[in-house]
């Protein structure tokens, strides 16, 4: 009997590029596996929690899927994942990794193939520290992911801060914050501003002529978004568990085949989609399908697949243990892209392992 996978992801409206990359990476892996015993159904959640929940109900009740995947946003994941895993379905997250699902609300059927939300920020906190910066100014939007981000940063950066600011979610004008940065005497800036907020911030920051170096998580400097940030991004260091130039055969093959298939460079999200699919495929292979839940779970947990990011293991709360790199934005010819310059954290898991009682 075929393994049925339901993918719920964001394919319309703002933010759809993330969902599209996850989907494309995922489907590329399925295609490359050549397996005909895996059916993938894909639906658009329009970034609305209740729509996502409805699709998951449909996938579970009507299509009787074995596995769900695809969700980009934490708040959608919080709506979908807990009820889904309780019904015995597996959920493999290709992106969102809210702390609740890593800690108290963890579940044996929930696996995250990307990262726990804090990971990239933690890496940057460590890196900024290691680079000898003494007064970073940090900012993020005023919502849980933003607070987690700065908490994550501070977990590994323990020195003095020039300032800590929470902006309005969806804010597009950062003149006031930039002036604050200027006035604060900061020697570095760390920001987590996903999507259009980050683009706006970077543009305005570079236009303001302030030259304090900027650090960020990969989200604002990833392949899909770099073109929109433009030259303002060149030289910015950002943290990521994956990069196009990770020198492994698996990654080279992935980048090449993705580019060939879709005519664009893969992004972080594409790599996560790709890895999620390969994780599932490896477990299906090992457990001979997904019907035997215990066997399948064990196979997932073993994570016997070649991740494009290099070494990959699951921590006890089913979140990755992985290296997190620091990349720098560079210009290759006309194209903006990233180059690895350092390893931020090696074999890093997450801060919530202990809270998870499975």
């Amino acid at each position: 009997e075929n393994v049925k996978i339901g993918m719920i992801t964001t394919l319309s409206g703002g933010g759809s590029s993330l969902g599209i990359d996850v989907r494309d990476g995922f489907m590329l892996a399925i295609k490359q596996s050549g397996r005909t015993d895996i059916d993938v159904m894909i639906e658009d959640d329009a970034r609305k929690p209740d729509v996502a929940k409805q699709i998951s109900d449909k996938f579970i009740q009507k299509e009787k899927v074995d596995i769900l995947t695809g969700i980009i946003w934490s708040n959608l994941a919080m709506a979908v994942v807990p009820p889904a895993v309780r019904q015995g379905v597996f959920y493999i997250s290709p992106n969102a990794g809210p702390s609740a699902l890593a800690g108290k609300a963890c579940h044996e059927n929930y696996f995250n193939a990307a990262w726990q939300n804090d990971n990239l920020h933690e890496a940057m906190g460590g890196y900024v520290s290691a680079e000898g910066h003494k007064k970073p100014f940090i900012l993020a939007p005023n919502y849980p992911a933003g607070k987690d981000a700065l908490t994550g940063f501070k977990r590994f950066y323990t020195g003095e801060l020039a300032g800590e600011v929470y902006t309005k979610l969806g804010q597009t004008d950062y003149a006031a914050e930039i002036a604050q940065i200027k006035a604060s005497g900061a020697d570095s800036v760390y920001f987590f501003l996903p999507g259009g907020m980050g683009i706006a911030f970077m543009k305005q920051y570079s236009q303001s002529g302030v030259s304090t170096p900027v650090f960020g998580p990969a989200f604002s400097f990833d392949q899909g978004i770099l073109a929109a940030v433009g030259d303002a991004a060149v030289g910015v260091k950002n943290s990521s568990q994956w990069s196009k130039d990770i020198d492994t055969p698996a990654n080279k093959a992935f980048v090449e085949s993705f580019q060939k298939e879709y005519g664009r460079l893969p992004s972080l999200y594409a790599s996560q989609g790709f890895d999620s699919a390969n994780l599932i495929i490896s477990a299906v292979e090992k457990a001979g399908g997904a019907k035997d839940a215990d066997a399948f779970r064990a196979a997932l947990k073993a994570a016997e697949f070649t991740s494009v990011r290099g070494d990959f293991k699951f921590a006890s709360n089913n979140h990755p243990i992985q290296d997190i790199y620091v990349r720098e934005v560079v210009k290759e010819g006309d194209v903006l892209t990233n180059k690895i310059v350092a390893v931020g954290l090696k074999g890093h898991a997450n801060a919530y392992v202990d809270q998870c009682k499975m």
Binding site: D44, K58, A79, L169
Partner: protein, 327 residues
């Protein structure tokens, strides 16, 4: 004249029947998923029925009903959260998982909130009213995303299933029937209210406040009462919605949600008893079916909605049941 009246009644009965029959049919065809879709239609229709009372009959175009919808939802969510954690709300109230307690709580809280918002908002009219209700809803929305205790933007999953006496709220069909009954109750209540003396006053407040005052009825209390009743119904719908999704989050409080409830009402036909049901059903079914059909579904949804506005005066009910009668 009487035949348009009859036509509307026939349409109403058919709508009510169709909604009831859909899950039965789904069950017969062994497609239980459609039960939850029908439940969603029923709940969002109820939210629309609430809004319709203010907007359609009272002329109070509230662009902030998500505040009530969300607060209703959060009552259910927070209660379940404390139940799950075994804690008290602010150390004051013991948590409960009894829906028969949660619902009245949601209704009363939304009523109280509506009194507060109404007291300020009803000083304004027209577009100003639209915007001030939006303002209040936005305040609550931002409160919702920034309170970490209840999940902030991530929302609050409901891990425990709240309970009803006698029947099992866990069973989808039972839960649908409960929602359906509440929807029908809401519609019936609306119809009584609209036909009552209060309803006459409320509707005159929409058409001409000066007239209302001139015959000796102070418009403000009439409007406030209408607004509060409306908020209470929408708040109940919010509590049901949280129960259905097993989740509450600030998206229930967002202006998109207010807009969506308003779209249901307009699409179905403003000031028509069954308008919200017709509108919500069409919208949700379109969303569901074209959504499964193409990624570009929003484009086609837009075209269809546009077609309805352009070619159906008075929304769907206007199209299928003819002009509304007001005499």
């Amino acid at each position: 004249m009487t035949d348009t009246l009859n036509r509307e009644t026939i349409v109403n009965i058919s709508l009510a029947f169709l909604l009831l029959a859909a899950p039965m049919l789904a069950l017969a065809l062994d497609e239980p998923f459609y039960i939850s879709l029908a439940t969603k239609v029923a709940i969002l229709s109820l939210a629309g029925v609430g809004l319709n009372l203010a907007l359609g009959y009272g002329g109070m175009i509230s662009f902030g009903h998500a505040a009530f919808f969300g607060v209703g939802g959060y009552v259910a969510g927070i209660s379940a959260h404390h139940m799950f954690e075994g804690s008290d709300f602010l150390g004051l109230f013991a948590a409960t998982d009894q829906l028969l307690l949660i619902w009245p709580m949601a209704i009363i809280l939304c009523g109280g909130l509506a009194i507060l918002i109404g007291l300020f908002s009803l000083r304004t009219t027209g577009v100003y009213f639209i915007m001030i209700t939006l303002a209040f809803a936005q305040m609550i929305y931002y409160l919702g995303i920034s309170i970490p205790t209840y999940g902030g933007e991530d929302g609050l999953p409901i891990y425990v299933r709240n309970q009803l006496p006698v029947v099992s709220s866990d069973d989808p069909l039972t839960f649908f029937l409960v929602c359906y009954a509440l929807l029908m109750g809401g519609i019936f209540l609306s119809s009584r209210i609209i036909g009552s003396r209060f309803g006459a006053a409320l509707q005159t407040a929409r058409m001409n406040e000066v007239r209302l005052a001139t015959v000796g009825i102070a418009p403000f209390p009439v409007k406030l009462t209408g607004f509060v009743l409306s908020a209470m119904i929408t708040g109940l719908a919010g509590a049901l919605f949280a129960e259905l999704n097993g989740f509450v989050g600030p998206s229930m409080l967002s202006w998109h949600r207010s807009g969506e409830i308003m779209i249901f009402v307009i699409l179905g036909g403003v000031g028509r008893l069954y308008g919200p049901l017709a509108g919500a059903a069409l919208f949700i079914l379109l969303e569901f079916f074209i959504g499964g059909f193409t990624d570009r579904w929003q484009f086609f949804l837009g075209l269809i909605l546009l077609g309805v506005v352009l070619f159906a005066k008075g929304g769907l009910m206007g199209l299928i049941a003819g002009r509304a009668r007001h005499d």
